[in-house]
C-alpha cells in the first residue's frame, strides 16, 4: 500500500524572488548622456524597465522666465545640443508668431538651410551612434566626419561651431557671406557620397539588422495615443510632418523638392531607415534652397524696433544707437501682446514646440517647451518589456534620447 503523500510544502517563493534588479546608468557608455534605467530582469529578459530621469535638470524653463527673448536663445541652444540651430529656429518661430512678425525672405531661406543641416547632423548622430552601440564603428566614423563638415558651415556662418546662438528676433545675428554658400554647395555632393557609404555599410549588414529587426515595435495606434512625433512616429506609419502639414519658413516654396519618409514597420530598423531617408530628402531641400536664396536684408526693418541694428548703425548713427539701447536695456526691450501662443517646428527628433506666455514686457512670462525626447523616452518601458538586455542600446539609440532636452 503506497504511503500517503505528505502535504507538499507550501511554495512560499514568489516570482519576484527569481528577478533581480540592474542599474543601467546614470553613467553608462551606451546611454551617451546622463540617464538612468532600473531594469528588473529575469535572466537576461527584461520584465520591467523603469526610467529615472532628472539628472540633468537645470531649470531651463525657469531661466526662460528671467531672460529676454534674445537671451533665451543661448539656453534653447543647449536643449538638444546635437542640433542646436533647429532649437533656436523653433524658439524664434514661437516668438515671432507671438509678435506677429513676418521675417524677410532671405532670412527664411537661411533658416531653412540651417535647420535642414541641423536635421542631417542630428540624424547622422542617431544613425552613427546606434551603429556604434551595436558594434559598427566604421559607420560612426563616416557619420562624424560629415558632422564636422556641418559644424564647419555653421562656424563660417555664425562664428561658433557647437552652440552658435545665431538667431535673433526678426532675423539673424549677421548675414552670411558667399563663403558659406560655397561651402553648402560643396557639402551637398560630398554628403551624398558619405550617405551612400553609410547605407552600404549598414543596410545589408547582417549583424546590424539582426540586432534591430523586430526590436522595440511601436504600433501606429500606440504612437498616436502616446503623443509620438517625428521620425519615430513616421516609422510607425503616422504620416505627419509639420514641414508639409503646416509649412513654415521657406518650406511653402520648397514643397516639390522633398517627400515625407514613412514606414509601417515600427521597429528599430524602420526608425533607422526613416532617418536615412530623411537625410536624403533634407539634402534635396538644401540643394534647392541654396540656389534660390533671395537677396535683400536678413533682418526685418530696424524701424519696426524689433531687430537689433548692425554694428555700423549702432556706432555711427544716433538712431541706431538709441535702437540698440532700447533693445538691450532691461526695462525697455520689446512691447509684446498680453497673450499666449504655441509655435512648433519639425526638428530632427520630432515636433519641438514652445508655448510662450507674454505679459507685455520683454521677457516671457512662461516659456514652455514641448520636448520630443521627453515624450519619446516615456515609451521606453513599454517598448522594452519582454526584450533582452542587449536590446536596450538598440532601442535607446533608435529613439535618439538627448538627456539635456529630456530634463531641461
Amino acid at each position: 500500500m503506497p504511503l500517503d503523500l505528505l502535504d507538499p510544502p507550501a511554495d512560499t517563493s514568489t516570482d519576484s524572488e527569481y528577478l533581480y534588479t540592474l542599474n543601467f546608468g546614470p553613467q553608462h557608455p551606451a546611454t551617451h548622456t546622463t540617464l538612468r534605467l532600473i531594469l528588473t530582469l529575469d535572466g537576461e529578459t527584461i520584465v520591467k524597465a523603469q526610467p529615472d530621469i532628472g539628472y540633468l535638470h537645470s531649470g531651463f524653463e525657469k531661466l526662460g522666465e528671467d531672460l529676454d527673448y534674445n537671451q533665451y536663445v543661448t539656453v534653447v541652444d543647449r536643449m538638444n545640443y546635437i542640433s542646436p540651430l533647429a532649437n533656436e529656429i523653433a524658439w524664434m518661430t514661437a516668438v515671432e508668431k507671438l509678435l506677429g512678425l513676418e521675417i524677410t525672405p532671405r532670412c527664411k531661406y537661411l533658416r531653412t538651410i540651417l535647420a535642414e543641416l541641423a536635421r542631417i547632423s542630428d540624424h547622422l548622430l542617431a544613425v552613427g551612434a546606434s551603429a556604434l552601440d551595436l558594434g559598427g564603428l566604421t559607420a560612426f566614423l563616416y557619420a562624424f566626419n560629415e558632422r564636422e563638415g556641418i559644424y564647419d558651415i555653421i562656424e563660417s556662418a555664425s562664428g561658433q561651431r557647437f552652440h552658435p546662438s545665431y538667431v535673433r528676433v526678426g532675423g539673424m545675428m549677421n548675414d552670411i557671406t558667399d563663403d558659406v554658400v560655397d561651402k553648402v554647395r560643396a557639402f551637398v555632393p560630398k554628403f551624398q557620397k558619405a550617405h551612400a557609404d553609410i547605407a552600404r555599410l549598414l543596410n545589408r549588414n547582417k549583424i546590424f539588422l539582426d540586432r534591430i529587426q523586430g526590436v522595440g515595435v511601436l504600433s501606429r495606434e500606440e504612437a498616436i495615443n502616446r503623443s509620438v512625433t517625428g521620425p519615430v512616429a513616421r516609422a510607425s506609419g503616422v504620416v505627419r510632418d509639420l514641414r508639409k502639414d503646416e509649412p513654415y519658413l521657406a518650406y511653402p516654396d520648397l514643397q516639390d523638392s522633398f517627400k515625407v519618409v514613412a514606414s509601417k514597420g515600427g521597429d528599430c530598423l524602420a526608425r533607422y531607415l526613416v532617418r536615412m531617408g530623411e537625410m536624403a530628402e533634407s539634402m534635396k531641400i538644401i540643394a534647392a534652397a541654396v540656389e534660390n536664396i533671395p537677396s535683400g536684408p536678413v533682418n526685418v526693418d530696424v524701424e519696426g524696433k524689433i531687430s537689433i541694428p548692425d554694428k555700423t548703425a549702432t556706432y555711427r548713427s544716433i538712431e541706431g544707437l538709441i535702437q540698440h539701447f532700447e533693445l538691450f536695456m532691461w526695462n525697455r526691450r520689446w512691447e509684446t501682446p498680453v497673450n499666449e501662443v504655441y509655435g512648433a517646428n519639425e526638428t530632427a527628433n520630432g515636433e519641438l514646440g514652445f508655448y510662450v506666455v507674454a505679459d507685455g514686457s520683454g521677457k516671457p512670462w512662461r516659456a514652455r517647451t514641448r520636448p520630443p525626447s521627453f515624450i519619446h523616452f516615456s515609451l521606453f518601458p513599454m517598448l522594452m518589456e519582454g526584450h533582452q538586455i542587449s536590446d536596450v542600446p538598440a532601442v535607446l539609440g533608435s529613439l535618439n534620447i538627448i538627456a539635456a532636452e529630456l530634463d531641461r
Partner: protein, 164 residues
C-alpha cells in the same frame, strides 16, 4: 473659430470661452467640465493626439483672476487641426482629473506639471516627481519660488571620505 470649439459651446453652453490668437484656436473650460470636454473632443472631433500639456502660474500676471492654468494642446492627426483647451485651478487644492485614460502620452507630462507646479491629477496611476528628486520640497516653476532657489544647492550636506 474652429468648428470643434463651436461644438463644445453648443454642448456645454456659455461656460466655454472661445478665443483665437494668430492661428491658435482656444477654448477655456472650467475644471469640473474639462475631462468631459476632452473626452468629447477625442471621441467626436477626432483629436486623437495630446500634443502637449503645459502648466502655467498666473500669480501677478496682468488681469489674472486664477492662479494655475493647464493647457492641453490637441492635434487631429488625420486633418492636422489643432485646438488648445485651457483650464484654471486655484490654491489651496489645485487638482484636475487625469487624462491618462484618454491619452497615455499624458503620463509623464502630468507628472511634470505635478512636479513643477504642484497641480495634482486625480486618478493618475503613478503621480510622483519626475524631474526633481523625490525628497525635494516645493514646486520650482511657481512664481513665488525664487529663481535661485532656497539655498538647496548651497546647503547640501558635505560627505567626508570617512563617511562614504
Amino acid at each position: 473659430m474652429s468648428s470643434a470649439v463651436k461644438n463644445l459651446q453648443t454642448i456645454f453652453g456659455d461656460v466655454i470661452v472661445a478665443s483665437e490668437f494668430r492661428d491658435n484656436k482656444r477654448a477655456t473650460v472650467p475644471a469640473d467640465k474639462v475631462h468631459e470636454a476632452l473626452t468629447y473632443l477625442k471621441e467626436q472631433c477626432g483629436f486623437d493626439m495630446l500634443c502637449d500639456l503645459a502648466g502655467i502660474d498666473y500669480l501677478g500676471y496682468p488681469d489674472a483672476t486664477d492662479r494655475y492654468a493647464v493647457v492641453y494642446s490637441l492635434t487631429n492627426t488625420a486633418t492636422g487641426d489643432r485646438v488648445f483647451v485651457k483650464t484654471f485651478v486655484n490654491d489651496p487644492d489645485p487638482e484636475l482629473p487625469t487624462v491618462y485614460d484618454l491619452w497615455k502620452g499624458a503620463d509623464w507630462m502630468e507628472r511634470e506639471v505635478f512636479d513643477l507646479y504642484g497641480v495634482r491629477f486625480a486618478g493618475h496611476p503613478d503621480l510622483r516627481r519626475i524631474l526633481m528628486p523625490e525628497a525635494f520640497e516645493g514646486h520650482p516653476l511657481r512664481k513665488d519660488y525664487p529663481l535661485r532657489g532656497y539655498g538647496e544647492r548651497h546647503n547640501l550636506p558635505v560627505i567626508t571620505r570617512a563617511e562614504s
